[in-house]
Amino acid sequence: MPVETNETVAARVGVAPRIGVAGRLGAVFDSDLLHSFLRSKVTVLAAVVTLVIMAGALLAPLIAPHDPFDVASLQLLDSNLPPAWMEGGDPRFLLGTDDQGRDIFSTILYGSRLSLSVGFLSVVFAAVLGIALGLVAGYAGGSTDSVIMRIADIQLTFPAILIALLIDGTARALFGEQRNEQLVFWVLVLSIGLSFWVQYARTVRGSTLVEKNKDYVLAARLIGIHPVKILFRHVLPNVMGPVLVIATINLVLAIILEATLSFLGVGLPPTQPSLGTLIQIGNRYLFSGEWWIAIFPGITLASLALAINLLGDWLRDALNPKLR
Amino acid sequence: MTEPVLSVRNLKVEFPTRRGRLTAIDDISFDLMPGEVLGVVGESGAGKSITGTAIIGLIEPPGRIAGGEILLKGRRIDNLPPDAMRKIRGKRIGMVFQDPLTSLNPLYRIGDQLIETVQTHTDLSAAAARNRALALLTEVGIPAPASRIDNYPHQFSGGMRQRVVLALALAAEPELVIADEPTTALDVSVQAQIIALIKRLCRQHGAAVMLITHDMGVIAETADRVAVMYAGRIVEIGPVRDVVKQPHHPYTKGLMGSIPTIATESDRLLQIPGSMPRLTAIPKGCAFHPRCPARFAPCDQVRPELAGRDRSQVACWLYHDVPAPAELQP
C-alpha cells in the first residue's frame, strides 16, 4: 500500500502542489552543472581562491589584526616595516606596514572589501540598466530599438576610463573637494557601471529578439497579458543565462577598472584605500626597497581577477549546450 | 545465392554517460541485397538514425560500437581505421541527409563539389570529371545543368539542393546509399519527386538503399522491405506489403492504425497509449510491454528475439514458443 505523502494528498484535493526545499536542493546536487564544476580542478581551485578572498573581505573587521582606518592606533615608528619573516620585521605585522604604519595584511582585507563592493555594485547597476534597455529595445523594436542601440554605439566609442574621469571631474566641480571624499565611492560605482551597460543591453536585446517570437510569448500575448508583464515574467528568466556569464567576467573588469582609477588618483582616497590605492601608494616606494607595500595588494588583485575570470569561463562553457 | 551488399550482425551501440551506459542500439541484425530498398522506420528515439551513422562510421564520441559487426560485401568495415573508412564513405557508400545544406559546402560552387567528389574516387581527368558532373546533374533532373553547374548551393531551392546531394551521393557509383530522412524537410509536392528519383536512380545504378524515415507513407511507396524499430531494437522486418497490410507485432499494428490516410475516412485513429521509453529507462523483457494491449506472462521477463514467420520476422512472444515457466520469475 503506497504511503500518501502530503504532496499526493494535495494533488488529489486539487491544492497547488509544491516541491519541497529538499527536492530542489537535491536537484542542484544532481545537476550537470555541479558535475561539470567538480570535474574541472582549475575551476574548483578558482572558486576556492575567490571564496577565500571574498570571505576575508567580508569578515575583515573580525579577522584583521589591526584597524587601518583607526588613525589613533597608528604609530609612525611602525612605518615601512618589512614582512614578519624578514630581517627587521615585526611579528605584529605579518606582511609589513606602509608609509603610515598601517598593517599591510589588514589594509588588504579592508581594501578588498572596498574593491569588491565597487565591483559588485557597479556590475549590478550596469546589469539592471543594460537588461532593462535591452529588453525594451528587443521587444519594442522599431525606432525605440534604433534610438537605444545608437546610444549604446556612441557609449562604446568612449573608453571606460574617459567616462569615469568625466563623471569624477563633474562630481568634483559640483560638490567640491571636501564632500567628494564620501561621494567618490558612488561616483566610481556610477562611472564604472555606465561604461559596462552596453554589453548587457546588446546581449539581452539579441536574446529578446529570439524569445519574443517564440510561441510561449505569443500565447501570453493572445490572452492579453500586458507587454511589461510579459517582458519580466516570460522573457527575462529566459535571457538571464548569458547575462550571468557577462556579469561574472565584468566583475573582474570592474575591479580592475576601479584599481586603475584609484591608481591614477581619481579613485578612492588614501584614507580609504582600495587595492588600487594601495598599489598606487606602494608604487612610490617600489624602487626604494619597500616592495611589499605594492606587491602584496598586487598579488591579491591579480589572483582575485584570475580566479573570477576562470569561473566565468567555466560558467560560459557549462551554460553553452553546444560545448557540453 | 547472391551475397548481401550490407550485413549487420548483432550490432550494439552504446553511449557512456555519467549515470551509466545508454544502449541506443541493442543487438540488431539485418541484410541488404543488391538493388534492394530497405526502409527503416520508427519514431524519434527508436535508434534508426544511429543505425545509419554506425554503418558509415560516424558515431560521435563518446558513443561507440560496443558489439557485433558490419560487413560491406562480406568485408568488415566497423573496425576499419578512420582513414580507410573515409575512403569507403562517398566511394562505396553514398549518403543523403535530411537537410541538404549539411551535405553541401555553402562556399563552393556545386560543380566544384561534384567534380572534387568524382576526382577523389575515380582517376578521371579534370575535363572528364566535369562532363561526368554535368551528366550527373542531368540525371537527377536539374534543368539546364550547363548553366547551373557554377551556381552556389544557396541559389537552389530546397528540392533542387536535395537533387544535387543525390548527384553527389551517386557520383562514385556506390554499392550502397544511406538516405536519412531525405524528404522530411521538403514540401509534399517536391517530396514525391525526390522519392521517385531515389527509386529510379538506385535501380539504374544497381545500388542498394537504406531509407531511414519516420514517414510510413514514404516507406510504403518506396521500400521493398521494411524494418520497424522500437527502443533500439528491430521488432519486425519483412516485405513492405506484409508489414503494412498484415503487421504482426503489436507495435507495428498500433503504428499502422495510428496513421491517418487520405484513402479512407476514419472516425477514430487507433492509438498506442504512452510514449516511447527514454534510453535511460528501457523496460525489462520486451521494451514495448508496458504499452502493449496483448502482453502476457513472459513479456515483462524475457526479451523476445527476432524469429521467422512466413517471409517476415517478428520479435514478439505471441508468435514464438513461450519459455518454460521455470525461466520466469514469479
Binding site: A16, I223, G224 | S157, I195, E221, T264, L270
Partner: protein, 344 residues
C-alpha cells in the same frame, strides 16, 4: 464597405457562422534596411503573404486550411486570433470585428473565447514555468477563479481533461515528452473556457503514434465542449481525419474550398489534384504515381495571372494573364479558369 459587412453580420441573427473571414490580406515589408536601400538604390520589397481570403466557420465545425510552405496558412491563423493585424479585410467572430475600432470594448470580452494551439510544444511552453503556472495563467489573466484553491482545482481538472495527472502540474516542461507537452498546451488553451480554437499544425512536430493520441483527444474535446476549430496543417491525411470542410491554399490565396468528403473524392482545382496525387500514403504501396512538376515559386515574386499556371497541365493564355476569382462548384468554391470554363 466595412459598415455594410458588419451590418449584415449583425442582422443575420443566430444562424450566422461563428467565424467570418472577409477579403483577408497581409503584406509584409521584407525590404533591406532603410540605409542600404538608399545607398544601394534597392527597391522596396513587399511580400504578399495572404490575399483575398474568404471563408466562414460554423459553430462546432472544424474548418481546415492546407497548403505547403509559403502558402500563407499560418499567417491567416495569426490574423484570425489577432496576433497579426491584417493589411486588408477583416475577421469577424460572433459578429464582433477583430479590427474595427468601434468594437474595441466587445473585443476584450471576445479574447477569452478564442484560443490557439501552436505547432512546436517545445517552444510554446515557457521552459522556466511549471505546468501548473502555465495552465493557470489564462485563468488568472481573465479572473476566472477567485481563490488559490479554486485555481488549483481548475488546473487539476484541466490536466485530467487532457489525460494527465493533476500531480504533473509541479513539473517543468522539459520533464514531459512531446505529446505530453502538447497536452499541456491544449489544457492552457482550454483554461479560459474558449469556444473557438485555432490549431496551427498541432501535431506536425510529433511522432505518428503520439499524433494519433493528440488528434483523438482534440476530437473528443470538441464533442464534449462544443468547440469550433480552425485547423492548419500541411498534412492532407490529418486534415481529412479532422475537418468537416477544407480550404486549400497556394501562394497566399484560397484555390479551393469544399466539404472534406467532396474534396477527397473529387478534387477540382488542378493544385488539389496534384497534392492528392503526391502524398505518400500507406494505401499506395507499389502504386505508379503521376509525375509532379516544378516547385513552389518565390512568394515575393509570384507568377502573373493564376499563381499555379507554371505547374498546371491545363494552363492556357487566359490563366497566364488573368487571375481567376472563386466560383461556386458543387458544395464548395474553386478559383480556376479551367474549372469555370468546364475544360476540366
Amino acid at each position: 464597405m466595412t459598415e455594410t459587412l458588419v451590418g449584415t453580420a449583425a442582422a443575420a441573427g443566430p444562424a450566422r457562422p461563428l467565424v467570418q473571414v472577409e477579403n483577408l490580406g497581409r503584406v509584409f515589408d521584407v525590404s533591406p534596411p532603410w540605409l542600404n536601400r538608399v545607398i544601394e538604390r534597392l527597391p522596396q520589397r513587399l511580400l504578399r503573404a495572404v490575399a483575398g481570403v474568404n471563408f466562414t466557420i460554423d459553430r462546432c465545425e472544424t474548418f481546415a486550411l492546407v497548403g505547403e510552405s509559403g502558402s500563407g496558412k499560418s499567417t491567416v491563423a495569426k490574423m484570425v486570433v489577432g496576433l497579426i493585424p491584417p493589411t486588408t479585410g477583416q475577421v469577424i467572430i460572433d459578429g464582433v470585428s477583430m479590427t474595427n475600432p468601434a468594437h474595441d470594448g466587445q473585443r476584450r470580452a471576445l479574447r477569452r473565447r478564442i484560443q490557439m494551439v501552436f505547432q512546436d510544444p517545445y517552444a510554446s511552453l515557457n521552459p522556466r514555468w511549471r505546468a501548473f503556472d502555465i495552465i493557470a495563467e489564462p485563468i488568472r489573466a481573465f479572473s476566472l477563479a477567485d481563490s488559490r484553491q479554486e485555481i488549483a482545482a481548475r488546473v487539476g481538472e484541466l490536466l485530467t481533461l487532457v489525460g494527465l495527472d493533476p500531480a504533473d502540474g509541479a513539473k517543468y516542461p522539459h520533464e514531459f515528452s512531446g505529446g505530453q507537452r502538447q497536452r499541456i498546451a491544449i489544457a492552457r488553451a482550454l483554461a479560459s473556457e474558449p469556444e473557438f480554437i485555432v490549431c496551427d499544425e498541432p501535431t506536425s512536430a510529433l511522432d505518428v503514434s503520439v499524433q494519433a493520441q493528440i488528434l483523438n483527444l482534440m476530437r473528443d474535446l470538441q464533442d464534449r465542449l462544443g468547440l469550433t476549430y480552425l485547423f492548419i496543417s500541411h498534412n492532407l491525411a490529418v486534415v481529412r481525419h479532422m475537418a468537416n470542410r477544407i480550404g486549400v491554399m497556394y501562394l497566399g490565396r484560397l484555390v479551393e474550398v469544399a466539404p472534406s468528403r467532396d474534396l477527397f473524392r473529387a478534387p477540382r482545382h488542378p493544385y488539389t489534384r496534384m497534392l492528392l496525387d503526391a502524398v505518400p500514403d500507406l494505401e499506395m504501396t507499389g502504386r505508379q504515381r503521376k509525375a509532379v512538376e516544378g516547385e513552389i515559386p518565390n512568394p515575393i515574386d509570384p507568377p502573373a495571372g493564376c499563381a499555379f499556371h507554371p505547374r498546371c497541365p491545363f494552363a492556357n493564355d487566359r490563366c497566364r494573364a488573368e487571375r481567376p476569382e472563386p466560383v461556386a462548384a458543387g458544395a464548395g468554391e474553386v478559383a480556376c479558369h479551367a474549372v469555370a470554363e468546364g475544360r476540366i
